[in-house]
């Protein structure tokens, strides 16, 4: 390892430890696939060492990782080769549906669009407010609220189909 004059190398590994779970969960929320989440995960942290962002505080760090994870996940889907391979992965999952807890919720989330899933995750899991999500996504706050409303409506419809109106 080359001389770490500015301490960035050690800091990068600290950031990996601190934000690995956040990045992976958000990537999974967006891609709904283990392979996708793993690809995005690595891309995010390689981008960290490539870009060497100046992250001023914990809030800034978290926002940076959320934003970059979303950007990488967006790029992931824009890659036509990945788009082409996704149906095969989906098929693989459908051939052997695991009878696990939460599968109904998973089925509901699978049916949401990726954009809605991101907003749901940032709001319900990461605890961001609508204005904060708007800032992260570069969208209007009203657009975020609209997505949340659409997501809630769709999730309610989906879950009611399964007899569990829980939203």
């Amino acid at each position: 390892m080359k001389k770490d004059d500015d301490g960035f190398n050690a800091r990068a590994e600290e950031l990996l430890d601190r934000y690995a779970t956040l990045v992976y969960r958000l990537a999974f929320a967006r891609t709904r696939s283990k392979e996708g989440a793993e690809d995005v995960f690595q891309e995010v942290f390689l981008r960290l060492v490539a870009k060497r962002p100046q992250l001023e505080n914990e809030e800034h760090e978290k926002a940076w990782f959320c934003r970059v994870t979303i950007n990488c996940a967006n790029s992931y889907w824009r890659n036509p080769f990945r788009r082409r391979t996704q149906p095969l992965e989906d098929t693989g999952e459908l051939t052997a549906p695991p009878p696990e807890e939460g599968s109904e919720l998973d089925a509901c989330l699978d049916r949401l669009s990726p954009d809605l899933r991101v907003v749901v995750h940032l709001y319900y899991y990461e605890g961001y407010s609508a204005p904060e999500i708007a800032g992260l996504l570069g969208k209007k706050e009203s657009a975020v609220r609209m997505r949340l409303m659409r997501a809630r409506r769709q999730l309610r419809d989906f879950l009611e189909e399964g007899g569990n109106p829980c939203v």
Binding site: D17, Q42, E58, L105
Partner: protein, 446 residues
């Protein structure tokens, strides 16, 4: 209930430790193999210096004209820029596209915002915008940003430049649609943070001196040590933080004097069961004697071990409230012609990844050089595992007929493409060969 189910579900999801360690190894490889990257800092520094220089000149010599500022920013690329005729008005502000510079991969658009009747803009104007292609199905831009170049107080005009980098070749005749929704002059931001674990200034279980407002709300009294620090510090301060007599977490904020607009957020970072920090806003706000008391109801001293910090984030302006409106300008792009030629070049994957990735084409314009790889070769034989490659490290050299050797600067890229920009525009017809990773591609024979 949904929130609970969702949290429970995602609490179970975590990266495989092997993935984390593999990533750590790849990060170490990247850090040990790469040169330090002053590029971005340099570019940012250049931007800052350019903006500062423009502002200095403005102060000393009644300001450069908008046109001059654009020429300065374009430098030797100016001959490739085209004039733009696109304008709109809303809320007394005129937005106007002025000039554009584009090749297949890089776009730069200069536009102005002029306050027609008031003084709501200045050299620190913040802009909220989105960028679209008029063909909504195609989004060729990998990254984009807007920065302010200058402000001319005589005409009350801000000059901005939008830069976008394409992840696909921008089609000839493409139209860029810039949608601005908010402008805020005099923009400032400040943040203050109190760590819960700090022994000296941290938050303890002890209930702090409190009082009740006429409306019956419990609020913190200012803490002398924080108040004296606030008096010596800048605008917006935390003058008390901790648990009030009502047993809830409170933060008392002292706003700056003379602000026209402010947006204050006070957030507590609280650990959940798996140790991840979740931000929760203190949403109950009580004005008290010119201060603002923020409260997180239901968060008492017994939960203190889960609290890592409280933070105040403030955006404010002493000049103007945000001007919200609908400004949309459509900018037709006349792209500088690019030459596309096929190559077949094996580029070694990063250390830790097997094999090589095949470069399949190069795009050469007077402004930039782009390398595009065959995406199918980016996967291992299982078709799923990504073969990592950092294209940025393959800095190309471009040889001209007169023997000049050019080394363009990395501009942007992703896993399967990378673009380098020339410091000075070139004549693609003068290019003899391009060398990448020690392999020379003769351009004329391609």
């Amino acid at each position: 209930m949904f929130e609970h189910d969702y949290r429970t579900r995602f609490d179970e999801i975590a990266p495989d430790p092997a993935l984390v360690e593999q990533t750590r190894s790849r990060m170490r490889d990247a850090l040990s193999g790469e040169k330090a990257q002053p590029r971005r800092l340099t570019r940012r520094g250049f931007v800052a210096v350019a903006a500062a220089a423009a502002l200095t000149v403005t102060a000393l010599a009644a300001g450069p004209t908008i046109w001059q500022a654009i020429q300065n920013d374009l430098g030797s690329r100016a001959p490739y820029a085209t004039e733009v005729e696109a304008a709109c008005e809303d809320e007394g502000i005129r937005m106007e596209g002025v000039r554009a510079l584009a090749d297949g991969r890089m776009v730069r658009v200069y536009f102005t915002a002029q306050d027609l009747n008031k003084n709501r803009l200045d050299e620190t104007t913040q802009i909220r915008y989105s960028l679209m292609g008029t063909d909504r199905d195609i989004w060729p831009y990998g990254s984009y940003s807007v920065r302010q170049l200058s402000y001319d107080p005589d005409s009350r005009t801000c000059l901005f430049v939008l830069t976008a980098t394409g992840w696909e070749s921008v089609p000839e005749g493409a139209i860029l649609c810039l949608d601005v929704e908010r402008l805020l002059g005099g923009y400032q931001s400040v943040s203050r943070r109190i760590s819960a674990s700090s022994e000296q200034a941290g938050i303890t279980e002890k209930l702090l001196p409190s009082t009740q407002t006429q409306g019956g709300s419990t609020v913190l009294l200012p803490q002398p040590e924080l108040e004296s620090a606030a008096a010596a510090g800048g605008p917006f301060s935390i003058v008390a933080a901790g648990f009030a007599a009502d047993g809830n977490l409170h933060v008392r904020v002292r706003p700056a004097i003379g602000t026209v607009w402010q947006n204050v957020t006070v957030c507590a970072t609280i650990l959940n069961d798996d140790g991840a920090g979740i931000g929760r806003d203190l949403e109950q706000i009580t004005p008290v004697e010119g201060d603002l008391d923020y409260c997180l109801e239901g968060f008492g001293p017994e939960l203190l071990p889960r609290l890592t910090q409280v933070e105040m984030l403030v955006e404010y302006s002493a000049l103007s409230k945000p001007v919200e409106g609908d400004w949309t300008i459509e900018i037709p792009l006349q792209t500088a012609a690019s030459e596309h030629f096929s190559v077949s070049l094996a580029l070694p994957a990063d250390r830790g990844s097997e094999g090589s990735v095949m470069a399949e084409s190069l795009e050469l314009s007077p402004l930039s050089l782009t390398l595009v790889c065959d995406q199918d070769t980016m996967y291992l034989e299982d078709g799923k595992t990504l073969r990592y490659i950092t294209l940025e490290k393959f800095t190309p050299t471009v040889i001209l007929k007169d023997g000049t050797v050019l080394t363009p600067t990395y501009a942007d890229g992703n896993s399967w493409w990378a673009t380098w920009a020339f410091d000075q525009p070139i004549d693609p017809d003068q290019v003899v060969s391009i060398t990448l990773d020690g392999q020379t591609i003769p351009v004329e024979e391609s």
